[in-house]
Symmetry: C2
Subunit: 357 residues, 2 copies
Amino acid sequence: MRLVLDAMGGDHAPEAPVRGALLFAREHPEHEVVLVGAPARLDACLAREGGAPGNVHPYPATEVVEMEEDAFAAIRRKKDSSLRVGFELVRRGEAQALVSAGHSGAVMAGALLLLGRLPGVERPAIATLLPTLKGAGHCLLLDSGANVECRPVHLAQWAVLGSAYMRALLGIERPRVAVLSNGEEPSKGTALTREASALLRRSELHFTGYVEGRSLFSGDVEVVVTDGFTGNVVLKTTEGAAAGVTGLLRSAIERGGLPLKLGALLLRPIFAGLKTRLDYAEVGGAPLLGIEGVGIVAHGRSSPRAIQQALVAALRNAEAGLRAELTRCIAQAASWLPVRQRGGTRGLSEEQRGARR
Amino acid sequence: MRLVLDAMGGDHAPEAPVRGALLFAREHPEHEVVLVGAPARLDACLAREGGAPGNVHPYPATEVVEMEEDAFAAIRRKKDSSLRVGFELVRRGEAQALVSAGHSGAVMAGALLLLGRLPGVERPAIATLLPTLKGAGHCLLLDSGANVECRPVHLAQWAVLGSAYMRALLGIERPRVAVLSNGEEPSKGTALTREASALLRRSELHFTGYVEGRSLFSGDVEVVVTDGFTGNVVLKTTEGAAAGVTGLLRSAIERGGLPLKLGALLLRPIFAGLKTRLDYAEVGGAPLLGIEGVGIVAHGRSSPRAIQQALVAALRNAEAGLRAELTRCIAQAASWLPVRQRGGTRGLSEEQRGARR
């Protein structure tokens, strides 16, 4: 496989992406990484790391999409941006996946405009795999940030895509699917959650109804759908809570006496396991589900380790050949889920058309 | 002070409320608790606990508002429900606050219909005090579940009420206030968050803009406003994440060998501190801000300890005499925040009028 890495994306670019690419490339000599970015800066980074191994290929792009830019406008205007150049490589079939820790809205915009959507998909979603803390499994949360304004049909489609993904990639035969809400009773929720639930009750999915936020970690369900606003808030809240708990433990141990320090030493294997399980860097990146091709959104604060894991996620997604299965499931859902368009780059949402002007 | 406790509210009623009332009453002999509920069941519970001390007074109510009932309809129809009878006691001035672990929507409905709103307040909100994990302070999240459909003016009013509350109750002179969003850039968010932010930028509050979910625990802000759907999802997510992390630690230690068990023993004081800081039972209950009088929503799964702490919260709220300060701040905000009605029980929202039919 050949994977494209947007070397200019993320808070620590290009250093973290370059180092992450090298970590990945050394571990996977049979695969290749194309590092897209400003040539002089890439060369300097690579020189500091002792040069690029044979399976890492710098590729020039002179522009960068900045965090505060309008996503669609930037992708359209900055034709030589690392993100756009990277997506062009995937579009031309010269690479099988793209990873970026940059502007996640721009990654979505690039995927929509340059790769397009799978047939029948109205809106792609960012699908984040959360570790369940009971059951030691995973729960897929989508959308975790790409679509702030949503319609019920979007949530229902994400349920279809999420189920297919968990089956194809994690081997979960019949994933349980739920809609995130402010209570489990059907009377709870908003018009969006109630209408999405009504659609999903008619589906062939294993739909269990509403769940509250705590079920993201309980192992009770494998797929949770919500609008991208709520999904993003939930994700950042989880990060904050987990970081807070571990930080609180650490500072209490640091301030404490010898018995506490000895206790911490004895528990080190457990703390290390906990860190691995909670650290976003270990999860790598989140795929954009519903696009033609593989696009992975990595965390903006990605460390080299996080980039390495995002490349691993890209590799797994590309190798799984999900397109056929996702497309089959979306087509099959047409019996209960009427959609308005046929994929590709046509018929984008109003929000997206607005941004393209 | 005389505090009313809805003895029939909560998953473990009436046992947990009765035992919580006794814990509180023994610790606060100078205050009184009125236990409202089914006489025979209260008597049986009290007998099992060795009888009621002199400052605990059973008070009869034959009906109970059930969890699946429509909140407003139940409060209007069940005139002898423990919740309604309890609010009547507060309304007549025979008690200074009410605590319930029952149907939180019904607590809100009871407060709205029987006590009414403070002058100028459009919608009361549930205000939950979260422990910040850095800085060891607190962050007030409102609304955490009372209002699913909101307008920008509601969020702006909650910012006013929350600031006044943190100043009056916790002595924070100039609380920093933020709107919860899916990113810190002003271009992020929904129409609701953008319009609420526009209002708050014109205010005299210490408004810092948008925060992401992680700032609830970072100590960067003291008041965070959001709609009740998002607030509730965030709260349950936090509970789930914290419970998951501690559960993961516990099970790893239980499965482990002697060194791990010794380590856990040495770290016990830290784990105990962490539990105290994270346990909802220690926070007690969340006040309904914006109503006439003091109403405290306790967690549905409240243990006796949680009920005891909710009574402590009710006592602190009642003693603080917040009415004057909250009313003054709402009146002062009229210069930048136009509101449509004048408090009391008139002019309820469409949602609430709908429920009353």
